[in-house]
Symmetry: C2
Subunit: 316 residues, 2 copies
Amino acid sequence: MSLKPGRTILSSTISKTYVEEIKNKVEALKGIRPDGPLLVGFLANDDPAAEMYANWTAKTCESMGFRYELRTVPEKDFLEEAIIEANRDDAVDGIMVYFPVFGNAQDQYLQQVVSREKDVEGLNHVYYQNMYHNVRYLDDKQQQKSILPCTPLAVVKILEYLKVYNNLLPEGNRLYGKKCVVVNRSEIVGRPLAALLANDGAIVYSVDVNNVQKFTRGEGLKFKKHHVEDLGAYSNELLQQCSADADVIITGVPSETYRFPTEFIKEGAVCINFSSSKNFDDEVKTKASLYVPSTGKVTISMLLRNMLRLIDNRQK
Amino acid sequence: MSLKPGRTILSSTISKTYVEEIKNKVEALKGIRPDGPLLVGFLANDDPAAEMYANWTAKTCESMGFRYELRTVPEKDFLEEAIIEANRDDAVDGIMVYFPVFGNAQDQYLQQVVSREKDVEGLNHVYYQNMYHNVRYLDDKQQQKSILPCTPLAVVKILEYLKVYNNLLPEGNRLYGKKCVVVNRSEIVGRPLAALLANDGAIVYSVDVNNVQKFTRGEGLKFKKHHVEDLGAYSNELLQQCSADADVIITGVPSETYRFPTEFIKEGAVCINFSSSKNFDDEVKTKASLYVPSTGKVTISMLLRNMLRLIDNRQK
């Protein structure tokens, strides 16, 4: 098999571009946080992937001057109280929870228990609602910036790094002319990501097992909100049709067996996988111009940037 | 078949006890709401059950001096904007949404879009969190009362009417000594209901398809929160064992075919069904002392009481 001249770009490479900025801001906080800001992670499941991610987070934190504390909660039912204690503890700057915990709607309840002021992952309802409506500040005076959910934000930053965002276009429209396929429409990543890309001017085909939807920038802009259109039930044919001229294919299917069909990918497309499972076959390299096999390291950088922003908001 | 001398009590009978109180409060609001407070219901699905419930709500509203406006949103994607408009409209006193809309996690997002100040169903995260922690006020000055989710509150009021709550015991412990089975552990009704009953002193067996949990009053009461213990995977044997000396059986299984096994019910138990489907066979009357086949009318009364409380909160 002769590989085409595409390139694989690792998320560790992309995340390096944020190291300097983050380190400088941590340094500037020495006055109030001499030992570095404190991030607390809560683990209440025995998912090895979550533990691995926790270890990564710890290492990344320490390498950039943050303190990281993993709090393991042996009984799931005690997690809520543990979060509330951390909410109230002035020594804690940021809180994250390794989901799934209960694996059902109770997890959505827990997400909202994390104080908005310490929610580094950006899972609070207010942050999501602001994101969907393109609202960038929490207050009328525009002093406190709203937080964006980590993983969708990481994908946006990756697309900026890969020059899919075009700097020559005005901010807020830098994906104009681009078509993207996003396979995943979870409330945590897939739907917000499709909205973010549409808000930046792209046409987005949002795909899940049930159907395919087309996200575009809203016309009326009364609420500065993207527009959604149903394209019909999911089928391989419909996916192939949407992929045929997609400039970007983004996958996030949490399954060891799922693979995006390589033959659907347009020659030279950009391919990004944000799932912790491998969603593209190695042959993706014969088609993709740029291929990012995972996004984890960039996600952690975004999480730390969010934390610095939260500290900044609290000081105001 | 010879029926035992139990009684069937309709929710319409129970709801009558609230009519006078509600009408008087509406009358007292004539100064600011001469035509009555306005409740807006949003319907974005074609579920006939939701439409029936909307018609009921309209009739009940009008009979008690409220105005009710059903706003049908033909495209689900426009529902969020319609809710936000109602949030901002000073003429609207209360908002409710007929769920399911999308039938997935996006519905949880929509629930939180409804302004907390107009959320008559009590679905806002703040109300749930206060309920779980037995927090009764929204503010430190204890002037603004927190709202309780409608359906769990309706079941509590039904248990009060049926004298399962014992007035001779101190408030907050009036279910002391009572054992309850609750078949349903949804985030909307089953789990909050189990917590409410446990907070009032009952031992609650919370049952769903996966497992059985035992809710009791927390001991430490550090966070004034109930305690949850896993009793094991669901099985008919375990359900039979929990039901054997349960004083109250409460069901909420949204299925036309599900029936709670009559033979599991203790002679003289109180049986309540809050599902819109029939969850007990007619033979329940041979076992139950008091049987409440549905809770809808009481739920609407609670919704209107919540609305009056919200108006009261906004005035403070």
